[in-house]
Symmetry: none
Subunit: 202 residues, 4 copies
DNA sequence: CATGAATGAGGTTTCATTCAT
DNA sequence: TATGAATGAAACCTCATTCAT
């Protein structure tokens, strides 16, 4: 007797991620995923309810990992045990985000359809997205409180971050390196592009 | 692109936009669009080659209008006939972008899948997107040249803008007004969120 | 433009009847029905919701015709406009039943699963079956009232009739003629409930 | 037909009977039977070759028991060792039939598809059904020979019996008692074929 | 013997597209 | 031009059966 195998689930998810990233949902056939994973078609249905469930799980799993990465980075502490300066934390968040985008371009690309998912799995998804937003927004709020940062609407800023990275990946110049992208995003979010004459507050 | 009955074409486009915005491509049936538009299914094929053509045309048309909006705003001249200051031009670009997003949420939401389209209609699309990018990037470059702005990679910044707006619309706090969104985006892109002590260059 | 064609519906029904009679439900493929009827597979779905709907419709249509036959026979009147004697009416009912069984063996055979259908389309079916029962039971009751017949439970008797015919067709000796079957059923049912005056042998 | 664990085989048969009676063959999944019986799916295959074998065995076993019941009843002898009068034997047959129908409604209901089975296991089944028919038909013939009964076609009459009971159970009035059903069937069948001496009302 | 994860042939069903009217 | 009945390729999914454990 065999037991449901987490390894196999991972194999399916990874294979599916590759396929779904390369072509739109309705052009990906489960037959192909099964073949690519060297599994029987029915096996997919042992681990997932249906095509959509597989798709959603895929993205959700990825997003979950991303949130974990973020949490780890943002909860890092300095030598003395205190939290990192907000600006430093923000840089790490950007790095984590961009790093994830480069490490899992499939997943990142697919998160475009998050709007669709929200309709289907509102509950779980909303909670996880809330986590994501809170991690960043709270960091910004902390910075605002201790005078490091200034932001009239940390929530909006948090919401922006993902979109910035995604847009650059999709529409920006070709062949950008991870470093460059992270640096540019951090510059934009951090200082913007308008030269401010000294002493003139924003 | 003039067809027998431009009114009818518009009706189809508008109906389709509504449907495609509400559900993903593969869940929208031509039957549904035809029914919703009170037209025969075959009529759709008088005006569009196939489902994908309809979908692409939809987004392309929308994007085209957006680009025209942008061009109009960015080519505005001051009383003396000179171009607007770059910062002011940028503000107008952000306003145009956000205004469009609020005016055509369906279209804006659908542009999420622009990546998909790129694969299909690389040619036309690439040119149009190039226009979009150039409009913004050139404005930034102009500002950099005349000392108003500073940006190490105007192309990336240009690429960012759309994503920022979209992210805020999708993931940001509920019930945001057009003004608020435009203001926040402009603040972020313009000055960022890090308080800079006077005299300390970025 | 073509209009939904009642002729085509009949063609589908007739073809399906043949197939479903020859093999059990789960061994009949819609592919086969479509091929046999020289129609596209999808055409079946223009006229019926799904396989089960086709199956049910099939039997229901047949049963409906049977009930109409019965009604015609039982409402026949003598030369003077009065209803037929109950015994005569009963004979006609049996003839109609057996005639139908011989004319539409497919349908009659399939009505075996009426129990199944009841669960699915309780409403319509129940009403139609009620009609069937009432036609026979009322005839018997009329005979009882005017002294022709005697039956302690006309409803049960009515319920019996179909089963008798079906059993004979299925399990009785081979190569029975319509006449023989009708005669035997009538003898069984008839002499059980017809008061025979003394001395008059059956 | 003894298997490793006869108890377990019985459990499977009983569970399957319940399921097959409630829904048609193609809607009963072996998964469901296994789950309902708290057994592994594979275990079913230890005791039966395949789904159809299970189904057939089920009905065949039931029918076999019914035939045994009938044989016992019909071979009963009077105090003096002679066989029972034909009319009395017939009554017992009807009682046995109705009793079985009430005791095993699942099985009885399933025998609807006996026609189907005939095609599949013609051999064994034909023999067993022949036994059933002979038991009844011979009893009738005996009655005819000794003047108790009159029947032009005992085989047809025998074939009828099962159908009568089944029809009443399925389509007759609700909430009939075993007694009532048996009585009515006996009256119908009996008074049709029993010579009634003059002046003796039914 | 008992199990249930794995399988994949083959089923039902969908729906973009065609074309006769 | 406008229609929607007809089509059938191709998709998703089921589930009887197998077999490693």
């Amino acid at each position: 007797m065999q037991r449901p195998d987490e390894k196999k689930r991972q194999l399916i998810v990874a294979t599916a991620a590759k396929m779904f990233a390369a072509r739109p949902f309705h052009k990906v056939r489960l037959d192909d995923i099964a073949a690519e994973a060297h599994l029987g078609k029915g096996t997919l249905y042992v681990y997932f309810d249906n095509k959509e469930d597989l798709y959603i799980s895929l993205i959700y799993d990825g997003f979950e990992r991303l949130v974990e990465n973020l949490r780890r980075e943002l909860s890092a502490t300095a030598a003395d045990g205190s939290l990192l300066p907000a600006a430093e934390a923000l840089r790490r968040a950007v790095d984590a985000l961009v790093g994830f985008a480069f490490a899992h371009p499939h997943l990142f690309e697919m998160m475009r359809n998050v709007g669709e998912i929200k309709r289907l799995h509102a509950g779980e998804w909303k909670a996880k997205r809330q986590e994501f937003m809170e991690l960043i927004a709270n960091t910004i709020r902390r910075g605002v409180e201790n005078g490091e940062l200034t932001d009239q609407n940390p929530e909006m800023t948090a919401a922006c971050l993902g979109g910035m990275v995604r847009s650059i990946m999709l529409f920006g110049p070709r062949d950008l390196g991870e470093r460059e992208v992270a640096a540019q995003v951090y510059r934009l979010i951090g200082h913007g592009i308008i030269k401010r004459p000294c002493g003139k507050p924003q």
